[in-house]
Symmetry: C2
Subunit: 335 residues, 2 copies
């Protein structure tokens, strides 16, 4: 069996036990269709297959390519494009049960013209991104129905609640957002209220299904919240250079999503990242005076943001201790 | 011929005229072997082929995969891995003229054991990343020679000078760095002094060859400097949602390197980026009151940092006006 220390670096590695824990905790909290795993965080049909085996048969995607890949992998029982698109003709031809989010006349027209049959009305519940104003949801639902589309319900992502520290404070933001979504749903009708994410999976009381993705792998940002999920993945990296003061490993800007800031290395202070390097020094406040790395040592680099990190990598190595027990393709990249 | 507005988005687009301008300006300033184009910025053998056709036959790379891809593409006349590696056995088997940077006993041993024949001694000239202390360069050169390696000379990247605004201030930083490299070179010997980048291409008076890569495509960070290169590439994006206040297009954290901050959109204020979205509003101070985008409009999103942006994309579309005249694979991604 291949060993972790034999892998070429940088490499994306997931700890099998931590992943198992995260999937199991979520499946107990939100069994079956109560969870609609978001594949954007992981872009990996092999991981989605694990989620499906635990009972979650509906998925959501952020890109048309993710929808195409999930359908091709036989994971198309109930696929939601939780995003607006004008390329709906690529969805209409999929061999899958497809629903798409719409929030405007042009996106409704694209869905109808593209052969899509079912939609959710996407509602802006406070995050300035996609979604119609709540008081427009009924009008758009009527329009969609006139275009022959089945309106399954509403969607509204309270993304602005996700980074709020403290359950009570976070819940207040979630509740305010969901009050808007409930008002929109009253106009729209339908069985589905799709919302939520890893940060609100057990706080959102309105949603009929939660769109969580990051919970399976986690990242240093989500790890700051009071969540029951474990940090499960890292960029495995080799120290290639050292000085008297700092060390340098071969992860960098092309293997780490950087919008949430620098990654973390246990026992070290991260100075900065370059294209193919992280420069760090021992954190003298850490146990044993911190990490004193030598050339050739392997280090775990913990990403700050899971989604744009995964999107840089071709594959995900599943590790059990030093054994690489599976290799999964990150097969839903691109657009 | 395929048209720009027919491309699926997000898509990486380069303006053929601006690229031509940038390549020509550089080839006049640093003809032939005076420039060793860095392929890490563009990761594209088709673009490298254009540089080779202009007379630059030597290239430098940041990863072993880039070296392998360049060799396989027949661009292996003089390939430098301008980075440290312990996976030198992958270089030793290439059908190419290979040189690798070394800065320690383990990297020298890896090169010798891996079948590499030629090295540069990499010297730290002020950027805390790779490179030995200047006073160690001679010792390492001797060690390399004892291991049977040919020492071609030295390398030292003054990366800390690149973002310095103002030619005089930037030149002072470059000169201080190159004084250290000159001292190291006096100990090491050899014909090659490899250094520099897009920000110092015409300021570095010591280097026998300049390692510039970003100049061909540029980005908003390099565009702030007083350089003769034009912004040549953007992420082509479709507006998928609008509100009364803002608009949202389908570029985002997975199509843009974010370590240098938000991208730019002409006539707009960029609010923030999400995985697959940029939220922006009209810049009322701009001509015509700014960009008032409608769903379906295409917008150019100008990346802040070229290298980690390109690394997200599968291909680069070469545009002449609205015509897509060539499609180039970004074929040197991964490790």
């Amino acid at each position: 069996m291949r060993k972790l220390h034999e892998l070429p670096t940088p490499a994306l590695v997931v700890d099998a036990g931590a992943l198992e824990h995260n999937l199991a905790v979520m499946a107990r909290a939100l069994p079956g269709a109560r969870l609609r795993p978001h594949v954007k965080a992981t872009k990996c049909t092999a991981l989605a297959r694990r989620q499906a085996a635990l009972g979650h048969r509906g998925f959501c995607c952020a890109t048309v390519r993710e929808m195409e890949g999930m359908a091709a992998a036989g994971l198309g029982d109930d696929l939601l494009l939780a995003n607006e698109t004008l390329a709906a003709h690529r969805l209409g031809r999929l061999d899958a049960h497809v629903t798409v989010a719409v929030d405007s006349e042009p996106t409704i027209a694209a869905a109808a013209d593209g052969g899509v049959r079912e939609v959710l009305i996407d509602v802006n519940v406070g995050l300035p991104r996609c979604g119609c104003a709540p008081d427009q949801a009924g009008r758009l639902a009527d329009l969609a129905r006139r275009r022959g589309l089945r309106v399954r319900g509403v969607m509204g992502y309270e993304g602005h609640a996700m980074p709020v520290a403290g359950r009570a404070a976070r819940k207040a933001v979630v509740d305010a957002a969901m009050a808007q979504l409930a008002a929109a749903h009253a106009q729209v009708g339908g069985d589905v209220i799709s919302a939520g994410g890893t940060g609100s999976f057990d706080l959102n009381e309105l949603a009929t299904e939660i769109q969580a993705g990051s919970y399976s792998l986690m990242d240093t940002h989500y790890a700051r919240l009071d969540l029951p999920f474990r940090p499960a993945f890292w960029v495995w990296s080799t120290v290639v250079s050292t000085s008297a003061v700092f060390a340098v490993c071969d992860a960098g800007l092309k293997s780490l999503g950087m919008d949430h800031g620098n990654p973390a290395i246990d026992g070290a202070k991260v100075w900065f990242c370059s294209d193919e390097h992280v420069t760090f020094s021992p954190d003298e406040a850490a146990a044993g005076g911190g990490l004193h790395a030598r050339v050739g040592d392997r280090v775990r680099v913990w990403p700050a943001h899971v989604d744009p990190t995964v999107a840089y990598h071709e594959r995900l190595y599943v590790a059990d201790g030093d054994d690489v027990v599976e290799t999964w393709e990150i097969d839903l990249r691109g657009w």
